[in-house]
């Protein structure tokens, strides 16, 4: 084994990936556009006309009813719809079930605070400061990003100030980000999205191999003392790197769309490893396609033979399929990857739980098997 050869071949593959617009489109842009389109249409990141926020009012009013003024100002934004709760407990319940995206606790000295401000607006040290607590749905990007500034603005407005840097007695404190228990559509489809992008490697591998065969490059490589092992190793490593970048891009996409599973770093690492192993089976399917296909044009069409079942039975596209189709799904490797990722992210399964271990075993064995078949077939029926 000469690593100089393996490294040189990997470098070549990487340069090809970034320099050929068609390749770049097929393995990065296309899956991402597709994932985004699907994600959006399943309502994962759909725009909401207004945000529901819960209010728990602990304010003790005297002459001035500050909380009333605050309510009106909040409603006037037209972005927020208000739900008033009599106690913190019921507000928190609704928040954790996703019925409201935020809960504001108005403190008991809120009106006092406003009065103190209006009395001596220019002497901040004589103000009675009060703190509004804000609880946010941490799974919702709009909640964590959009709601606090809106409320801050409203607080500034009720003191009659207009400048951006407010000077007033109210402090908005984000008390905690609350885990919302009801999973969104995105939570259901995000695991499949990780699987999704990698499946397109089948097309890319079959294209690359048939093209190099057609134009004589494969012949050229075979005339050098490069061993089949060195060559295939370089290919496997290259496509794993590509799969890693794909998975990272998909992760960024779903993160932006609001995907926030309550799992630690090890689970993420584990998920990426799973996608890497899975990418090997796609290299295998790509090689099988390249063996059967007579030309690179035919390879594209033929690759769908492997792409489509994996797509429809084993990714987020399959989440809504009939139970019969889901049983058939057990014959495609992508099913197990999506299943494992769903268990990890959505159901909070531990990496060492039996269901995960079983999935991982199935994925590893089937992927190595498919890759081996691909390599053997390609080697045997390879025609120059």
């Amino acid at each position: 084994m000469e690593f100089q050869r393996v490294l040189a071949l990997i470098k070549r593959e990487m340069k090809k990936t970034v320099r050929e617009p068609a390749v770049l489109f097929m393995i990065f842009l296309f899956p991402i556009v597709f994932v985004f389109a699907f994600g959006a249409s399943f309502g994962g990141g759909g725009s909401q006309p207004s945000y529901s926020i819960g209010i728990v009012n602990l304010d003790q009013t005297n002459s001035v009813n500050a909380s009333k003024i605050f309510y009106i100002a909040l409603s006037n934004t037209k972005i927020l719809s208000l739900h008033v709760y009599t106690n913190n407990q019921s507000a928190q319940n609704d928040l954790s079930q996703g019925k409201v995206q935020a809960v504001i606790i108005i403190p008991n000295d809120f009106s006092k605070s406003l009065v103190s401000f209006e009395t001596v607006p220019n002497e901040p040290n004589k103000w009675i400061n009060s703190t509004l607590k804000l609880y946010l749905d941490k799974g919702s990007l709009v909640a964590t990003q959009a709601i606090p500034p809106i409320i801050q603005q409203v607080l500034t407005a009720i003191t009659g100030q207009t400048q951006q840097i407010p000077s007033n007695p109210f402090h908005l404190e984000t008390a905690s980000l609350v885990e919302v228990k009801t999973p969104s559509a995105l939570d259901f489809i995000a695991p499949g999205m990780f699987t999704f992008a990698s499946i397109f490697l089948i097309m890319m591998v079959s294209q690359s191999f048939t093209q190099d065969r057609e134009n004589g490059m494969m012949k050229r490589i075979r005339i050098t003392p490069t061993t089949p092992t060195e060559f295939m190793l370089s290919q496997a490593i290259s496509y794993m790197i590509i799969a890693l970048v794909q998975a990272a891009l998909v992760f960024i996409m779903v993160y932006i769309m609001g995907f926030r599973p309550a799992v630690g770093i090890p689970v993420y690492i584990f998920a990426f490893l799973l996608v890497l192993v899975f990418s090997l089976s796609n290299v295998g399917f790509g090689l099988i396609t390249a063996t059967i296909a007579k030309s690179s044009g035919a390879a594209t069409g033929l690759s769908f033979l492997f792409v489509l079942p994996q797509l429809f039975l084993g990714t987020f596209v399959g989440a809504s399929l009939s139970s019969a189709a889901q049983i058939v799904g057990k014959f495609v490797p992508s099913y197990y990857v999506t299943d494992a990722l769903t268990s990890l992210f959505l159901r909070g399964a531990a990496i060492t739980s039996p269901i995960i271990l079983l999935d991982v075993a199935t994925i590893s064995i089937s992927c190595i098997f498919i890759l081996a078949i691909g390599v053997i077939l390609y080697d045997k029926y390879f025609r120059i």
Binding site: E2, Q4, R5, L7, A8, L9, K11, R12, K15, K16, R19, E20, N215, G216, M217, K219, R220, I221, R222, I223, T224, P225, T226, T227, I384
Partner: protein, 248 residues
């Protein structure tokens, strides 16, 4: 090493419906520039493919530099440099990157690689193109790059399969000079061509091949005088009753 760099014995290659190589026997001496001359479809490329281990012969054997191609293909691959018939270069790599890749595949150290690369680009008149993507090269430039890829590792034995096909006269003469230099360095070369003038100009000895059969063997001078004709073109017409190419 034996006196013959290349020994081909009773070589036969059948494809489903054609006999591409029909019982060819041939020896090429060390340092010899041997020309395989024949029309399209004669079997020249098939012979080259067998010699570099790309395809298996139906029967017969080939020994290169003392190694049997069938039994010790890796040893053979380390000895040879092959310029395949297709103009195959990676279009998305620059000329220099293409060459570096093949240098690495031959496990060359970076200094030797760089020195040879510079020298070969200079000889082939490609120095100013080295940093451009090979996909943007003209046909003749790609073929010259292809030749550099074949010879970057300074192989003792070279197979050049129609290296000047479809080249403009200027590129062709540059390649001819280059091949002459290789010969002067003592390399053993098999050159296939269907250009008579190329064979006549360059080769020590020529084998004329038609329908897979070796029908004549000898130096250009001897072939011409033995057949009592003026040039190689006439030798071919006399032996086969056909012209080697319908159109020039």
């Amino acid at each position: 090493m034996s006196e013959s760099a290349i020994i081909i014995e009773d070589l036969v290659k059948k494809f489903e419906d054609v006999i591409a190589v029909d019982d060819v026997n041939l020896q090429v001496a060390n340092g010899e520039l041997f020309g395989l001359l024949g029309p399209n479809g004669a079997g020249k490329t098939t012979i080259i493919n067998i010699l570099c281990g790309l395809i298996k012969p139906t029967s017969g054997s080939a020994i290169i530099g003392g190694y049997d191609v069938q039994n010790e293909p890796m040893k053979v691959k380390e000895l040879i440099g092959v310029c395949i018939q297709e103009t195959a270069v990676y279009p998305y790599l620059t000329g220099a990157e293409n060459v570096n890749l093949f240098g690495d595949l031959h496990v060359m150290d970076s200094e030797t690689l760089k020195a040879r690369r510079t020298m070969l680009f200079e000889k082939m008149g490609l120095t100013s193109e080295a940093k451009r993507r090979a996909g943007k090269y003209s046909g003749g430039m790609k073929r010259r790059l292809s030749l550099i890829l074949a010879l970057i590792h300074n192989p003792q034995i070279a197979f050049l399969d129609e290296p000047t096909v479809a080249m403009d006269p200027q590129s062709r003469h540059a390649v001819w000079d280059f091949i002459k230099d290789l010969k002067n360095e003592g390399k053993t070369i098999i050159l296939t061509t269907h250009y008579m003038e190329e064979a006549e100009e360059l080769c020590d000895r020529i084998g004329i091949i038609d329908h897979g059969k070796l029908i004549a063997l000898g130096s250009p001078k001897v072939l011409i005088s033995n057949n009592l004709v003026k040039n190689l073109e006439d030798v071919f017409i006399k032996l086969t009753g056909r012209k080697i190419r319908e159109e020039v």
